[in-house]
Each structure stands twice: as C-alpha cells, then as structure tokens.
Amino acid sequence: MAAMSIGPIGSGLFSLQVTGLEECMMAAASIGPLMMEAVGEAVTAETIYELGLTQEQVPVLTGQLQLSGRVEAADEGFEIANAIAYGGPAGSGSNTENVDYALVVHEDLEAHHPHGNAKYVENVVRGEAESGRAFERMSADIQRMVQTRVSFGRAQLTLAGPYQQRHGKWLVGPGGKFIGSTQG
C-alpha cells in the first residue's frame, strides 16, 4: 500500500492519503500476461466451437472419420493457434480404427456423400472467419475474461490526521497514478 500526504492548503491542516497505488500498478502490469491467457482461452473455445460445426459437415459412412475429429495445439512459434484435426491412427481422436483417408475425403470435390461434404473443415473455418462471427465471439470472450480477472484495486483517497509533509504537493493523475512532486 502506498501512502502519501499533502501539506496545508490555505489555512487548514490536514493530510491526504492516497492508498492502493501499488495494487493499481501491479494490476496494470498484470494485464499483459492476463491478456495472453485470455486470448489463448478464447482461441481454444472458438476452436472447440468450430470443431462442433465441422462435425455437422463431415461425411459419415462408418463414423470413424467423424470420431477422429479433435482440437490440437498448433505449434506456430509465438502465435497462439489451435488446429482442428481429422484422421490418424486409432486413438488419435475417439476413432477406434485407422483413418488414413481424411485428406482425400476433405479434398475430393467429385465424391458424392449421402451425408456431409468435402471441405468439411475449410468451409467452416473460412466461413466463420470471413463472416466475422469468429472474431466477434473471441472478442467478447476476451473482454469478459479480462474484466473478470483484473481488479484495479481502485486508489482510495482518504483525509486523515495532521499533515505530514509541510509545503509539499504530490501530483496524482487519473486512476491514482503518481506523477511527481514539488517542494515549495
């Protein structure tokens, strides 16, 4: 907790204490990591949501391709990215058999499917991105998470006791931020 006093103004003797500045500054400093955490969670939530949309479009014959659908972390260096993945050996998703035909089913535009269609991932991801729906959902998620987790600990101004700094004045900016001091 920070406390500072202000000297006499006019003829009155009083002190002005500003508290909570350290908490405020710590909260501000914590926004960066919190923001990255919120973005990561929003991207994951969006990927899970879009996986659900792909499940409605993926062709179903034996059901193994549909069962192989899953969300994977994508290694994109410093970028926060997830991937919707289909196919792979048994157990890659919930599939119990090897699914080595996911790419062909996805890309073969000539194949007829009684249920589902080619481009079952691309159509969803492109559609949600191009329409702006994905951005709107993630923006709302990030805003909600940051608002929930960041408390600025509101700097409190209290008048108390006799003045402690004679002829001194501290400048306190918006949000309780300490700007500087003068001695007069």
Partner: protein
C-alpha cells in the same frame, strides 16, 4: 464467363495444358493424364459505395492433375501452379484479376483405382465479378 472458363482459357494460352487434357469442373475416367480445375465456395464479396452489386469476388479453386506416372502428374501440376500463381493485375477473358494465390505447394491427393497418381493444390482468387456465361 466464370472463373473456371477464364482460368481454363488462360492455362491453355500459357501452354500448360491442351484442350484434350484440360477439364473444368469434372474429372473424366479417360484419358489417364488430365488437369482439372474446380471451383468451390470462397470468401465474401466486396462491395463499394453506390453499387448495389458486389464488385470483387473471391472464389476458391482447386487444381488436380492425374497421370499414370508420378513425374507426369508432378510436371503438370507444377506448371499449372506457377502459371496461376503468376497472375496479378491481369485481364483474363475481359475480366480483371487482382491475384491468384495458392494456399500451398502442390501435394499428393491420392492414387485412384487404376493406380494413377493425383496431385492437387488449392488457391484463393480475387477478381472482378464475372456476369453470366457467354
């Protein structure tokens, strides 16, 4: 004309594929060696002020080559890839093309029941809206 006809004509003009090898929108069983261009849903069109109709459309295309020998399919798809990827601020069939951008390099799609190899790539097209088929 539409994107398929415009790009098909371009590929013929560039000498990538002749008329008997190039197919648009469907892949016949014969001949063995084919180059096929497909169109599938792409991005949202772009509107500009005072125009009710969209000005720019952004279709997606897929190009597939098929041949008995891998090398033949590979040469065909790479020629098509390079020719299409080189389109920028060009007029094809009287329609302005801003760009054709492959989403990646060509890769193998499958081997069919005649053991013919199929290679493919997808590309994003940005072009002036084509009206009707002439």
């Amino acid at each position: 004309m539409t994107v398929l006809f415009e790009l098909g004509q371009y590929l013929e003009d560039m000498g990538v594929a002749t008329h008997d090898v190039l197919f648009l929108g469907s892949r016949p069983e014969e001949p063995d060696t084919v180059l096929v261009v497909y169109e599938y849903p792409g991005g949202a069109p772009q509107y500009v002020q005072e125009h009710a109709a969209p000005i720019i459309e952004r279709p997606q295309i897929q190009v597939v080559s098929r041949a008995l020998k891998y090398e033949d399919a590979d040469a065909l798809i790479h020629d098509a890839w390079l020719a299409l990827a080189s389109i920028g601020n060009a007029v094809l069939g009287g329609v302005k093309y801003l760009s054709v951008r492959p989403n990646g390099s060509p890769g193998i799609l499958d081997r069919d029941h005649h053991d013919r190899v199929l290679l493919f790539f997808n590309a994003s097209v940005e072009k002036e809206v084509s009206f009707g088929v002439s």
